[in-house]
């Protein structure tokens, strides 16, 4: 029920975005009778609520939905299942008691501060955008330098424009989406500047948001100075070499009043860290088992707090699983512990989950370090499968059948992404 928070719970979910809502539904469907979702915004749905563009749900619903539509479906499903959802509620602390009870401390306008107890907890706090500090742009500190997500909120929720003449640093998906959005609102988007030699956003966004609108994408180029005292007046950009160092001799200036940053996302794990959850230094999210359980028993994680996804549909898929395992644990289901460690190998930046168990099907999410076309994925000497192409912007979803691991005895398996000889047959899973 919306707004209800009373008594003890089987599962408490921190975060009411796509991950949290799907986790709650997964838990409920796995038999958890009492499920609570705590969300800090005034309405559940997370960042989807400001993503008014279409393109959500193509995988999960086989339909093209806007962000708010996608969120609305999940909120409705959660409420239909009599899941408690509280909004404008901030989890200011969490803990584990020695008897296995999990506690969250909830600050909520009009209700003061209260503690909710549960048998299992799901972390679904999402991620935040990297800021100017993460990329060290010299220059002044005027108004008009903001993350693409904040600009999206200005335009889509608050009815404000971030500026008139906009440059974008980084080619993350939100930046690409905002290039199109601002153009439609009558702003001039003067260009997208990307440090790497490849885009950091989905190919479909490069095509539909930049190419279709004639917005230039400058690869291997970065912003080397911001000018303007009170407000951005211009930026200096320069091409970078193979070492990513700018070639200042070839720099040029771009007049603009706004610089949007779309330079990556970071999982929001402050609560996880306060709890004592062990994090992966690469994903900056928790290390999880094949049931998406963190290093703390009964505490699960899913969605962008675990690792940054590029499609909401994959968040949903992962979160339904995390919720299911949390619900089962709350119901007393026991399962054998994982005994296989997954090791990221050649051209693999990370793999999630971090361990696997024989006897079950697994979905492993991974990202590569550099683009390869065509490519193949290899799991030790067990599996080798061709992939169309891989690029760091697009997460790879890889399913491992139960029988594959049943044949395996040992403690660790390495996953490699290999280049296929040119002209090799393009087959297997498109990432």
């Amino acid at each position: 029920m919306l707004g209800r928070m009373e008594g003890d719970y089987d599962v408490v979910v921190v975060g009411g975005g796509p991950a949290g809502l799907a986790a709650a539904i997964g838990a409920r469907d796995a038999g958890a009778a009492r499920v609570l979702v705590v969300d800090r915004e005034d309405e559940a749905g997370g960042i989807l609520l400001q993503c008014i563009h279409a393109g959500f749900g193509l995988h999960y619903f086989q339909e093209e939905l806007t962000g708010p539509e996608y969120a609305e479906r999940f909120v409705a499903r959660a409420l239909d299942r009599d899941i408690d959802v509280v909004c404008s509620a901030y989890v200011s602390g969490a803990g584990l008691d020695s008897d296995g009870t999990r506690r969250v401390r909830v600050m909520r306008e009009g209700h003061g501060i209260r503690t909710a107890r549960s048998r299992a907890m799901v972390l679904a706090m999402g991620c935040r955008e990297r800021t100017r500090g993460a990329v060290h742009i010299p220059g002044t500190r005027p108004a008009g330098v903001l993350t693409a997500g904040l600009a999206q909120r200005f335009v889509n929720v608050m009815g404000l424009l971030p500026g008139r003449r906009v440059a974008i640093l980084g080619s993350g998906d939100i930046g690409l989406i905002m290039a199109r959005r601002l153009t439609l609102e009558g702003c001039e988007v003067v260009g997208v500047f990307e440090l790497m030699p490849f885009s950091n956003g989905l190919t479909r966004n490069v095509v539909q948001c930049l190419r279709d609108f004639g917005i230039p994408l400058h690869l291997s180029t970065t912003v080397v100075e911001i000018h303007g005292r009170d407000r951005v007046e211009k930026i200096t950009v320069a091409p970078v070499g193979a070492d990513l160092a700018p070639d200042l001799a070839r720099r040029w200036q771009v007049p603009c009043d706004t610089l949007l940053l779309s330079i990556g996302l970071v999982p929001e794990n402050e609560l996880s860290q306060a709890l004592g959850v062990e994090l992966d230094v690469v994903t900056q999210g928790p290390r999880v088992s094949s049931t998406l359980e963190t290093s703390l028993p009964g505490v699960f994680a899913c969605g962008n707090v675990l690792h940054v996804h590029d499609l909401c549909d994959y968040v949903t898929e992962e979160a339904l699983l995390a919720g299911r395992f949390a619900g089962e644990l709350a119901g007393g289901v026991k399962r054998p512990r994982d005994n296989i460690r997954v090791v990221p190998g050649d051209n693999v930046r990370y793999c999630v989950p971090h361990t696997l168990a024989p006897g079950r099907e697994h979905t492993v999410y991974l990202r590569c370090q550099r683009p390869l076309r065509p490519a193949a994925i290899r799991v030790g000497d067990l599996v080798r499968r061709k992939l169309g192409f891989v690029t760091p912007a697009e997460m790879i979803t890889f399913r491992i059948k139960p029988d594959v691991l049943d044949r395996f005895h040992g403690e660790a398996r390495r996953i490699d992404l290999l280049g296929e000889p040119a002209g090799a047959h393009l087959a297997g899973a498109e990432p």
Binding site: L146, F154, R229
Partner: protein, 480 residues
């Protein structure tokens, strides 16, 4: 508007604020004028925040004399005004064997000036006390009276205290002209004419221009830029004390600063610049800062920088403070207040008070002078039971505006009540927007509260006043 005052203070930085507050102890009519949207937004905000012990400045200079007294005044000031202040101690370290002699000389100078507790440390002691510093260092001079503060909090609190004791504050109030007016001066501004028997020139990097307006320009300011780099919280605890090299004639050097809030800051550079608006950080500055501090502490890496800023020191020719009456009757310079100006500020205020008395200003103490201001509410720092009681009493304490620093709506409201008019004003008063997301999440909420409280549309909210607009209204119909 035309008002008559005993004293008009031009400049709402730490110097003007400290003087206005000191003079507010007496039966005087005082105005404090600030050209920017809020006080402390110039040099004070970008200060390193160090309360210097004073052993490194010669007693032959005015700044060298005022610094030790200023340092000593900080305990009482912090108790009255509740800004963040902690005496964490300072080390001047010897990078070369020859520096050891300099340290001995500094110790002798400091001892003679009455700097408390100076102690020379050998290499073994230094390694034991600060194990993360370079193992190549030869020794150090320890000055336990050195402290760190949040300088903007000091300015806000000084001004609040001054206002509470009757000082009239005017912001967005640059001086456009100064003219003789009876037995005093008339200060012309876009916000009216302020007539004062005494007019104090505390205009920082602009003080020579203000002096010229009065026809009393006896010095020139050369802004000396300092770039500072804030490091990731991960490095908290890397050093426990301020770490300085031995000073050069121009600068105290590039330092490692464990700030009051615990994060490590490195800097500043010292570069004379022409442009008085030049607060740009540079790739060259970053390279110089990190190259140097890595000699002090090799594990500091440029990749740890999370934010950077630059400020301008107001350096007068002669390289000392310029404090005193001028040929223009009633016009008094309090200028050239470069380092250690923040430390010296409370002593400068006393010095100027005595100087004005000598010039004929009658100082009659007010029996109802209230030295204290209320500490700003800091929800994040309270015990859980206290937080619960507050949230139960006032729902605004249960509404989180800035999730990274756990700042509640009640604190934002409180900051507006105490003079915040811009997003930066909110940020420096409450820390909203200072955390990991750098305002990515809290900016909309902060803008909404500010717009509501100031009674302006959202697009009228600015980052720091002037032309620092944040967003434009969408669609022409909202322009009206």
């Amino acid at each position: 508007m035309s008002e008559r005052y005993d004293v008009v203070v031009i400049g709402g930085g730490v110097v003007g604020a400290a003087i206005a507050r000191e003079l507010s102890r007496f039966r005087l009519r005082i105005a404090l004028l600030e050209r920017q949207a809020e006080v402390g937004f110039g040099t004070s905000k970008t200060n390193s925040g160090i309360i210097h012990p004073g052993h490194d400045t010669s007693p032959a200079t005015l700044k060298g004399r005022l610094v030790v007294r200023g340092n000593a005044l900080y305990d009482r000031l912090a108790a009255e005004l509740h800004f963040g202040f902690r005496r964490i101690g300072q080390l001047n370290v010897a990078l070369e064997p020859a520096d050891l002699e300099v340290l001995q000389r500094l110790k002798a100078q400091g001892d003679a000036k009455g700097v408390p507790g100076l102690e020379l440390w050998d290499r073994a002691r230094l390694r034991r006390e600060e194990p993360n510093l370079s193992r190549e260092l030869w020794g150090a001079l320890h000055a336990p009276s050195a402290g760190v503060i949040n300088p903007y909090e000091l300015v806000f609190a000084l001004v609040e205290s001054a206002e509470r004791n009757g000082v009239a504050l005017a912001v967005d109030c640059p001086v456009t002209a100064l003219a003789a007016d009876g037995d005093g001066l008339a200060v012309h501004t876009p916000r009216g004419v302020f007539r004062g028997r005494f007019v104090l020139n505390c205009a920082g990097v602009e003080s020579d221009r203000v002096a010229a307006l009065a026809g009393a320009q006896t010095f020139t300011i050369t802004p000396r830029k300092g770039e500072e780099y804030m490091l990731d919280k991960r490095l908290e605890g890397l050093v426990r004390r301020l770490v300085f090299p031995v000073p050069s004639p121009k600068t105290k050097g590039t330092l490692i600063i464990p700030t009051f809030d615990g994060t490590i800051m490195v800097g500043p550079t010292a570069e004379d610049v022409e442009d008085r608006d030049d607060v740009a950080t540079t790739a060259r500055g970053a390279a110089a800062v990190f190259a140097f501090v890595r000699r002090l502490c090799p594990s500091i890496d440029p990749r740890d920088a999370i934010t950077a800023f630059a400020g301008l020191r107001a350096v007068a020719d002669g390289n000392d403070f310029v404090i005193g009456p001028t040929s223009v009757r009633g016009f008094v310079h309090v200028a050239g207040i470069q380092s250690p100006g923040l430390t010296a500020a409370p002593a400068i205020a006393e010095h100027v008070r005595d100087l004005l008395a000598a010039e004929g200003l009658a100082l009659v103490a007010k029996p109802d002078f209230e030295p204290g201001v209320r500490a700003p509410a800091r929800f994040a720092h309270l015990a859980p039971e206290v937080q619960e009681a507050l949230a139960a009493r006032d729902p605004r304490f249960a509404r989180v505006v800035c999730r990274c620093e756990l700042v509640t709506e009640a604190e934002i409201d409180d900051a507006v009540d105490h003079g915040a008019r811009t997003l930066d004003g909110l940020k420096f008063r409450t820390r909203a927007g200072m955390g990991r997301c750098q305002g990515g999440f809290c900016t909309p909420r902060a803008m909404e509260i500010l717009a509501r409280r100031l009674g302006v549309p959202l697009h009228a909210v600015t980052k720091r006043g002037g032309g620092s607009w944040i967003a434009l209204p969408m669609g022409a119909e909202q322009e009206a």
